[in-house]
Amino acid sequence: MKKEIKVLQGNSAIARGAWEAGVKFASAYPGTPSSEILQEIADNYPDIYAEWSPNEKVAVEVASGASIAGARVMASMKHVGLNVASDPFMTLAYTGIKGGMVIVVADDPNVHSSQNEQDSRNWARFAKVPMLEPGDAQECKDFTKIAFDISEEFDTPVLLRGETRVSHSDSPVVLEDRKESKIPIGLDPKNATKYVMVPAYVRVRRKFIEERMRKLEAYADGFKFNKMEINDPSIGIIASGVSYLYAKEVFPEYSFLKLGMIWPLPKKMIAEFYKKVKRVIIVEELDPFFETEIKAMGYKVFHGKDLIPNMYELSPEIIEQALKGKKYKAPKIKIKPEDLPRRPPNLCAGCSHRALFYALKKLGTFVFGDIGCYTLTAAPPLQALHTCICMGAGIGGAHGAMKVFGKEGLGKMCAVLGDSTFLHSGVAPLMDVVYNKGNSTTIILDNRITGMTGHQEHAGTGFTVRQESTNMVDYEVLVKALGVKSIKKVDPYKLEETTKIIKEELAKDEPSVIITVNSPCIMLKRANRKFKNPFFVINEDNCRGCKMCLEIGCPAISWREGAGATKDGHKRKGTVFIDKGVCVGCDICTQICKYEAIVPGKR
């Protein structure tokens, strides 16, 4: 193969690395910024079996089975996904693997789209497994490949840390050929002491993982992606991943210890670095992970988290300001970006979630929410969602609260979650509601896709990641099997009927489930969603400027100020306006308007 250079996104480079490393099995649950990895594998590398698993725990479990069968395997997820997968992950650290296993975990510093900001390096230390951290796309590919070698050499799952500025950055990558792994495919029934983690066998593996850590420490000292760059010896900077690139940008003249393997740390190399440079500065994003470890080794850290923030993401100017001590001076412009209107993400025009949450708001319902596009309804003007903790937590939350309130809680609260989230981790808590004689209501918003992360298939959509037709979960049958007796279906675009059914279900003293129908994601092309009218317009003769229609926060509807009057003489301070380029004709606003001021438009 001739040397081909291609610009790849970090996530695409990880997928490429998996293919070149001979990976046969890949599983994932989507989550920003990790989602593209599995989709890229599915789209471009048919040599690899690929699946969306219902959640990250399952993704790691199926990958472990494929590894025990001898295949090289990769599971990918976002940082909070590893929390879900931590149960199998922590024990896989004990069993080790057969075919190489790499778990990609993508952090989200600055919380661009997550429910918390956590530093996944702590999982490596906690589980006693090695972790690598690339900084650009070439490293994403290289580190993925070498992670599989490390996995097989040391009999361990290996963590590969992604993060927003690496996963979603593009840079050139040299493409190479695929090399199949030498591990034979086959099961070994005589290896129970390795794979059956009953206490007697665990104790043996407990000792093994300590020995493995010592061997890995020695390996880290000779690891080719841990690099020393000795320039000006007055300052030596220790950094990894994208933090190294920021620091290098700001201080190209200084010396660097650039860590490719971030756990375990290369102790001899660090000692050597301390001999070669006068003072050491540690530049790392989020926790003082290296700093704590290096201080514990007995070294002085000249600067680290005393100056560099331990939250949000770093950037070259944050590092410059922190370490040079002078504030960066922007050009003298008298515009304050903070004075400009913000542009938060919003539910799309025509989204079925908008109607359903409007109904809940009208009923004054306290909503135990979940992770998905509908979480956006917490923002004004809807402000109709009141909690969001982690996937599946809404159902459990509503159940717990109902137990506190007893019958007094009836009619006042419910849980709401999407179809993908329900399959991810909503089934077990719903089972709990029924089993423990709860009486809460759960609303499943079935938009036929995983919406928030960019349209990934799941067990309820009828398609695999490679768009093959497959079985489609019947939520009604599933919910019935869990023991729910009151199951209702609502079309959220029919506002009055939806509101009536929700009110009835919330008041019932038994577990109930409402499933939305006729509600595919408005952006889902295959749903080919067409409403009766292509768009609506304002009849200015009738609009009284009451602003009722603005309460749904539709991006197609805006307020225009200007005193005036309706045709029949009602004074108004302004009118609303519908942008026909944005409106899809979903009809929700017309059901809210009391003055027949919103009428069908014509192309």
Binding site: V7, D136, D170, P172, P337, P345
Partner: protein
Amino acid sequence: MMKKNDKVTNIFLSGVGGQGTILASNILTEVFLNAGYDVKKSEVHGMAQRGGDVTTHFRFGKKVYSPLIKYGDVDFLLSFELLESLRYINWVKADGKILINKQEVFPPAVNLGLAKYPQGVEEVFKKYFKENVNVINGQEIAGKLGNVQAANVVLIGAFSKFFPEIKEAAWINAIKGLMKEKLHELNIKAFNEGRKAL
């Protein structure tokens, strides 16, 4: 070690989700990689499909380290929407060049009548950046070609004029490489119209 003369050029793209800023930045990436530069691009998106602000940092040079541009270090600002250009005015170097698409997309607070959409964005830029400010109406030009969605490529066409050292064919090849064949004709027209517009 990086020498002082190994200059890195910083391009900042801003827009609203759904406007095609990411495709535009992919075209830049292909063009400058093929011209022999090291390139790095970083973008922020996520959180729902549409409507949020989208920014892309694009850098090219002999060797590029950071995927992020330093605040105040932008050489070229390419903005697909008026408010989204003003939001990043402080990022631009005093002698930076600016290309803005004359389109207003109202954020939720403006739709609700709770905030005002900024007025006179063009004038504000001209006050500080003088003749380095260029404003074109991408939607109008693309609309005349039959598809307003090609506005992003109109903008890229105009933007390409800032880089006379890069041949026109390099841009067209990048567009062809990144789009389905049935879209080639429209987008090449859009690119050419954009070039004429500046």
